[in-house]
Symmetry: C2
Subunit: 262 residues, 2 copies
């Protein structure tokens, strides 16, 4: 006689979470030797809910201090509650600085990193003479005058498909440094400048290095054409200081083939 | 021979500070038996700078969790640095959640509370299905549907000179509860509703009680006319729950006679 599982045995499902967080009090998304990571807090909340060990795989490894409105992560579970209930049930178990925005079931072979995506990041610059306390954790304070028009001219060179090797941290290990930036906007509202960038993927620290390079143009230390020079240089050319983490927010990840259900 | 002071003895000056703070980590403006107050942290920083004991008098006693962009306070000192340098020198001694925006010398008889003023407060309501972590300390999260038009109709009754006794905390001790509200706006941008109110003064918890009453109208638990009923009632009528402190920001205090220098 064959040892068969009963037909009502719980099936394995892959659950995708869209996660917003305030990164101020964490060492980043990924589990680190020191400091509490968003991934570890979330993983514990999931295991507490589903009552089985889970592996949580995120789409982006955000650094310490970086925020998210739409981080994406998946885990597998045998729990059989409706897909949208995971969000609610997890939010009851999570601290207030991590909030699941949405939960959906996806195909078991769906991988948040190897699927084709467009990602959107925002980098905020508070440009006024004196800092504002309530903005200190969510924007980079820059008291110097900025030439926004020059920054926009520089930003235009970033758009398109380029080898962004000079816009990646030297700590990066990836071989293929070609990426496509679909769109880069610089908008100003009151004292706040928001850089919004959308692309098919970003190298390690790429958005913060782009923000730093555009600030150099904004300070008129470099001309807008400097951005093109750095892009086109076959030498390693460091475009400027990396802008600090706390100005950065992972806004959205769109999966090009959508979120196919099983 | 008379015991005269030398003519170059430092003169007493009254310095006015415009202060912005993130109230999240404080027990409010005023010194309290338990918890750290903004006033005490600021007073210590001033004494450390000027090297003499000071009395710091604030214009508004903001509650725990309430934020400020333009709190006003004064102190007297013999220190003779230029008036605008106090701001810079104090910011070097203050934590990042308290930032002096401006310092000016005023007349020695200037009192931040007994001078005629107009004060502006903002109350922020995040109105969406799921909370946003980076907004959690700076807005009141309300997931229910809100009838903004009804709230605006209710808000119109608040404007003008009224006895606001029913819009004050029962803990208040003031006798004269008549105040003038010059302006009350309700604006929506994305998910964020901002109530901006300007008046010649506000009773204890008045803005938060007004926000709570308008939310009751927004939920359609009460009609807009309910606001008028509460205002006109000679009985003690409690208009609804007081909206929580962390949605509130003291935006600006304008002194009608200006800041007269000595």
């Amino acid at each position: 006689m064959k040892n068969r599982q009963p037909t009502d045995a719980p099936v394995l499902r892959r659950i995708l979470l869209v996660i917003a967080y305030d990164g101020s009090n964490y060492c980043g998304w990924q589990v680190q030797p020191n400091g509490v990571s968003i991934q570890s807090v979330l993983q514990r909340a999931i295991e507490d809910l589903v009552g089985e060990p889970v592996m949580l795989t995120g789409a982006s490894r955000t650094d310490s201090g970086v925020h998210a409105l739409g981080q994406v992560a998946v885990f597998d579970t045998h729990m059989s509650i409706p897909e949208d209930r995971f969000a609610m049930a997890l939010n009851q178990r999570l601290p207030k600085d991590i909030v699941i925005q949405k939960s959906v079931e996806v195909a078991l072979n769906f991988h948040p990193r190897y699927q084709k995506v467009s990602k959107t990041y925002e980098y905020k610059i508070l440009n006024r003479r004196i800092p504002l306390p309530c903005q200190r954790l969510y924007s980079y304070f820059v008291p110097q005058r900025l030439d926004l028009e020059a920054m926009r001219q520089g930003a235009a060179y970033i758009c398109g498909t380029h080898d962004f090797k000079n816009f990646a941290s030297t700590k990066t290990s990836v071989k293929d440094t070609v990426r496509t930036v679909y769109d880069l906007k610089l908008e100003k509202e009151g004292d706040m400048i928001t850089l919004t960038i959308r692309g098919d993927g970003f190298l390690y620290n790429m958005v913060r290095i782009i923000a730093g390079a555009l600030l150099k143009v904004g300070f008129r230390q470099k001309s807008p054409e400097y951005i093109r020079e750095v892009l086109e240089s076959s030498q390693r050319l460091i475009p400027g200081p990396t802008a600090p983490a706390h100005g950065l927010t992972l806004v959205e990840i769109c999966y090009k083939e959508g979120l196919k259900k099983p």
